[in-house]
Subunit: 232 residues, 2 copies
């Protein structure tokens, strides 16, 4: 039985959020991996690399796993009713609903994080609460059918964890070995807890504009949720 | 001054060998990253994801860094005189000649590894000697202007090391932090030294056909080199 795995492709996606998990999933013979776009036209990722969808919202088969990667383009998706409706509908049928990095904010905007433990990129983690989630500082967080990964490179850990769940530990270990995934980061800068304060400040400054827009979107979601509760 | 970095794109490239370093390099404002194909037509990677070149062998500007990623498609490149001539010519002008994973075998076939310390994917490391290289079991190996990375995910460590070299440690650390690159591999299976023997056997069996062809290509290179020396 083939497991159907779908990854959302959209303009300004952080391509490594997508290509890391793609490579893991597509290296497992039991999976068929779909890159789902609004159309089949290729889109430019946040750093320029073009990605070509293999299917569309309309044509995508029933999915066992639906996964939303992150990137600057997430902000537009959070207000895009067509995308949110697609993610909601596919999540209902799927065995696992997943995100990498700030893709979690799209799940949040779709209302799929309420009451759930979840993670995202460290610089957006505090925003998850606005969508009713319980933010968890961890590389991969599973809460029932919801599986969320941390920032960018956490997508590889996320996907190996998923393959172990879906296909067993041997399959995941074989992929890890074939990918020579015994990482040796050259510096201890991979987390705001270990990076030098000036490096944390530099990354926050570089992301300030995207972050400010996300704060507004999170505030709007919080107000809407409070309004809904008040009316009930 | 912009640093021009070129990554080869070819049919059956292991896309993560390329997309990992791409994302690191393209996140550094000082770099312009080129995906170099024989033509501008998109190509299918070894796991199906399509990659679209941004330039061609003919149109590519002078490069400061030329990097060859790996994958099953490497076997064809090792016999492709047009590619080997392009790599040789660009290597001559470049500040750094680099590879990720089995891309090192293409550098070898181009004659660029003679007398140099180099690494590659663990399952191909013993083949480097046929091209006159000194195989080194390490994640990233630098020998003068030659920088080689190990298998697949080592491309991320390789690229961060290169950015530190080209742009300084702060730039590399900022990218590492933004990528949340504090990896937590779910298993200890990332190296043949730590993986269970049955997993190593499984991966070797899965790669046996590609490996057998590489052995023939390495043997041919060894015989040719011996013949050249005998004639001298």
């Amino acid at each position: 039985m083939t497991i159907e795995i779908g990854l959302l492709v959209f303009p300004r996606v952080r391509q490594l959020d997508l290509t890391g998990p793609y490579e893991v999933f597509a290296s497992w013979p039991g999976a068929r991996v779909h890159l789902i776009g609004k159309s089949r036209d290729s889109v430019a990722s946040s750093t320029g690399l073009r990605l070509t969808p293999t299917t569309t919202y309309a044509d995508c088969p029933r999915l066992d796993v639906i996964c939303v990667p992150g990137g600057a383009g997430v902000n537009a998706l959070m207000r895009d009713e067509e995308t949110l409706a697609f993610v909601r509908a596919r999540a209902k049928e799927a065995r696992f609903v997943a995100s990498v990095c700030t893709g979690a904010l799209v799940l949040g905007a779709a209302g799929l994080l309420r009451g759930k433990r979840a993670t995202t990129h460290w610089a957006s983690l505090d925003l998850l609460g606005a969508f009713g989630a319980v933010p968890v500082k961890a590389r991969v967080v599973r809460d029932g059918e919801l599986v969320t990964g941390g920032g960018v490179t956490a997508g590889i850990d996320f996907a190996l964890t998923m393959v172990a769940e879906l296909a067993g530990r041997d399959a995941a270990e074989a992929i890890q070995l074939n990918f020579e995934y015994a990482p040796e980061p050259p510096f201890a800068a991979g987390s705001p807890d270990t990076a030098r304060p000036e490096i944390v400040a530099r990354v926050r400054a570089a992301n300030a504009e995207v972050r400010a827009e996300r704060e507004r979107l999170a505030d709007a979601a919080r107000r809407e949720s409070a309004g809904t509760q008040a009316r009930q």
